[in-house]
């Protein structure tokens, strides 16, 4: 999947301190998952498996918990997270077109990440700046009154550097 799959060794090294820090109480599952995500940017499957073994929790249960909470990401996330707004205002003013343009430009569907781990594309309900619709956020930066042409320019800014 990703070109930079984590090496087993490296994963173990970065994971171990997290596990040791939290101990083996089953109640530690969520805090451990939060720390794993902070460390890796998402929840690598091998890390979840290892943590479940460590806590002696069935993997099916751990999976149930991490899919229950929206805060957990099961796939690696890009350096830049693009959030295209599809709230009512944006929707009316062509949000879908913006989303489509981004999707086409990057070659990924909403929810996915580019293979080079540069961009993750997400759709959100409302970013709360309806006056600027249609909008998109790139990490913490907001871009206003977008159209397919402008999308290209915005993406170009983040393509380099």
């Amino acid at each position: 999947m990703s070109a930079v799959a984590l090496k087993e060794q490296e994963l173990k090294q970065r994971l171990e301190p997290i596990l040791v820090r939290h101990g083996r109480a089953p109640s530690g599952l969520i805090p451990i998952m939060q720390d794993i995500q902070a460390e890796f940017g998402y929840l690598p499957r091998e890390a979840v498996e290892e943590a479940a073994r460590w806590l002696k929790i069935p993997l099916s249960k751990a999976y149930g918990v991490i899919t229950f909470y929206a805060q957990f990401h099961l796939k690696p996330r890009g350096k830049y997270v693009l959030r295209v707004c599809l709230g009512t205002a944006c929707h009316v003013r062509g949000g879908e077109k913006v989303l489509e343009a981004v999707s086409q430009e990057l070659g990924i569907a909403p929810g996915d990440t580019t293979p080079d781990l540069r961009f993750t594309l997400e759709r959100v309900a409302c970013l709360g700046c309806c006056g600027l619709a249609p909008t998109m956020m790139v990490n913490d930066q907001t871009f206003a009154r977008l159209n397919p042409q402008k999308v290209k320019e915005v993406l170009a800014q983040f393509a380099e550097s």
Binding site: P58, L59, S60, K61, A62, T67
Partner: protein
Amino acid sequence: MTMNSCQPSLVALTVDGREVSVPAGTTVFEAARAAGIEIPHLCHHPWLKPTGACRLCVVEIKGARGLPTACTTPVAPGMVVQTESERVVEARREILDLILANHAAECLTCEKAGDCRLQDYAYRYGVARTSYHGERRQYPPDESNPFFYRYHDRCIMCGRCIRVCDEVMAVNAIDYAYRGFRTKVATAYEVGLEESPCVFCGNCVAVCPTGALQPKLSVGQGRRWEIHKVRTVCPYCGVGCSLDLEVRDGERPRVVGVSGGDGPTNEGLLCVKGRFGWDFLHSPDRLTRPLIREGDGFREASWDEALDLVARRLGEIREKHGPHSLAGLCSAKCTNEENYLFQKLVRAVWGTNNVDHCARLCHASSVVGLGMAYGSGAMTNSLADLEQATLYFVIGSNTTEGHPVLSLRVKRGLRAGAKLIVADPRRTELAERADIFLQHLPGTDVALLGAMIHVILEEGLENREFVAARTEGIDELRASVAALTPEYAERVTGVPADLIQQAAREYARAERAAILYAMGITQHTTGTDNVLAIAALAAVCGQVGREGTGVNPLRGQNNVQGACDMGGLPNVLPGYQSYRDGGLRRKFEEAWGPPLPTGDGLTVVEMMEAAAQGRIRGMYIMGENPMLSDPDLGHVEEALRSLDFLVVQDIFLTETARLAHVVLPAAAFAEKEGTFTNTERRVQLLRRAVPPPGEALADWEIICRLAERMGYPMSYAGPAEIMDEVTRLVPSYGGMGYAYLGEGGKQWPCPQPGHPGTPILHREKFARGRARLFPLEFRPPAEVPDTEYPLYLTTGRILFHYHTGSMTRRARGLQAIRPDPYVEIHPDTAAGLGITDGQMVEVASRRGSIRLRALVTDRTAPAVVFIPFHYAEAAANVLTNPALDPQARIPELKVCAVRVRPA
């Protein structure tokens, strides 16, 4: 103890106007049931802890706010409960309406229609369809595994499947994933069940109240109302689970499904073989007509022709070479009645004691060893009683795979806080759960067990009272184990001395410790010594004769206990009665007529030897497959081929049947009546559900017809009458007449009609009076690794196949999930040999070689490779060593030396 603490106080309440008193702590749901009222429910199930998830069981309780769920509400004194009040009915309608909003009600084509709780309740409360018209949850069905479908769009999220997988199976293959509208039952990462820890017990399918989980084998086989159930016994392992065959009548009645019967052995649970392994019954490979050899092949023949030929040829051989030139193998897969008749034919009609069966290959050492030590060679305790143990010592038994439903008892015990010690050359599933795991080298059991006894005696942990009052020979035992120090054992077994010490202390100090063992103990040239060591360990610690304790050999085949009980052994008459004892022999002679032979008969492996040498000329083999089950197969084939005449009676043309001169088609378990005796000595009734295919006949009928042609009429109206004869001759079966067996069967000894049976042996005194403690001496296996053959080979069973595979390999699901043979190799060993996972390798011993795939896994120790013996195309027994235990004459199937290399 005061009266109060042992008798929970009763609480009186009224349910729908009926007064009922139940123990405090009972739920309203159970109280209603006690009053004869069944409250509608979807998520609750007697196997599971209540969760209150579905809310369908709501009731009205006077003075309570809202409508509480009956399955989670405890009773209180004076409660007034209404289970069908207007408010309750209204609430239930609303709940059903909501459930149906997310349920694809495809009752027209759903297999479950007619036996679906959701359908029942919708009918009962008149909810024709949902009133919600939103989006419905849409997930495609999961069809990936070979056993059952999961239709997500019929799932009502009751959680029963998840909980049975957790609370009963302790497998936890599935759980809820996602949330809200998107919630579904899923494996971790939504892999197919076959890639999850799932063991395909199908107990989740059994508890699903809707059609969300459907066995593949039953699809399209008939509507529920066209199907009736026949209660019988599982044909596979010695646990003897009670099961219901689901039969669809018609011109050719067929079995179309299986569900668990709530017998005392299994309480409704089953394993994958019992639940999904029945379709061999209708395999096109079934034998339907007698076959007579013609050149290299066979031709079909009538029963008259075939039986005349058999009677004539066996008669001629007997005439010419004497009675001892004939030998018979009866069968641990056939009924008690059939085994009884078979040995009667061999003894009374042929006049020889040359009768044996595959018990020789599995538990001969138990029969001999426990007979010597305790006076009875059977499991001392009962399956249900195992749950009482506070410690399990499992040695040489991969219980989870070999005796799956029995292992659930152990898991229940563990859940209740029991400790677990496992000793095995392989890291089995139970070993993963063990508090102490002793990974000893194959064939070093006496050193391990002797060292445990050494520690116990040295530290004074023995049960002095018990030893003094109920055993003999403690001094000889003490002297013999003096040399078996933990340090010595560490060198021999490879297990650290301190682990051995810990295990010894835990076992000795446990309040109730149960030993479970199987073929890892018995299949050795030291098999009898191994059993004697176990018997001594238990006796020294007083861990026998009480609930939750005992020495429990787990018998392999469904009726291996019964085949032994019925005298399918060369050294004893039925009921282990010696023919050397004139009085006992005369009892049988009076009943059977002819004088009985008194010279020792040959055992299985000896018969093969004798056949190769021309001393045995004719053999009759019923339902056994020595061409796969016996050690050193090359030699077995040579032996069978050199016979003047071989008759094989079976349900399939097995590897052995292919060598026969005449093949007789037999009925399978579902096609006949009789009894099986399971591992806990429980005699249970088998019932006929469908007719045999073609002209196949029940084994007992074939034996009767043959005996008659050999000049000894056997006429029985049916198996019940055969059992009546057994009850007159075998004291421990005295009360086993069919009329007295009851639904759950009875455990021997059951000396007279009406006797309740005996769940625990050796309670007040041992069967032989005092337990005899035999001195122990460690002897290494007959063949150990050397430079030429540097690895240990150990063989065994796996969950998905059975014995020589003639049944399971014709069961579609079982064959699909484990189609091919393999050899387990430790990663370090594999790396050293340049072998990678999945690669073809050659495994060779001094006796032969086979080719199969490598499965690289650290379940096995670096010095040991493991091969399941079910596969004819790479038969482990080509490699195994036929060296015998001097007393039990069991071959050393568990250890030999091999070499492995890439093929």
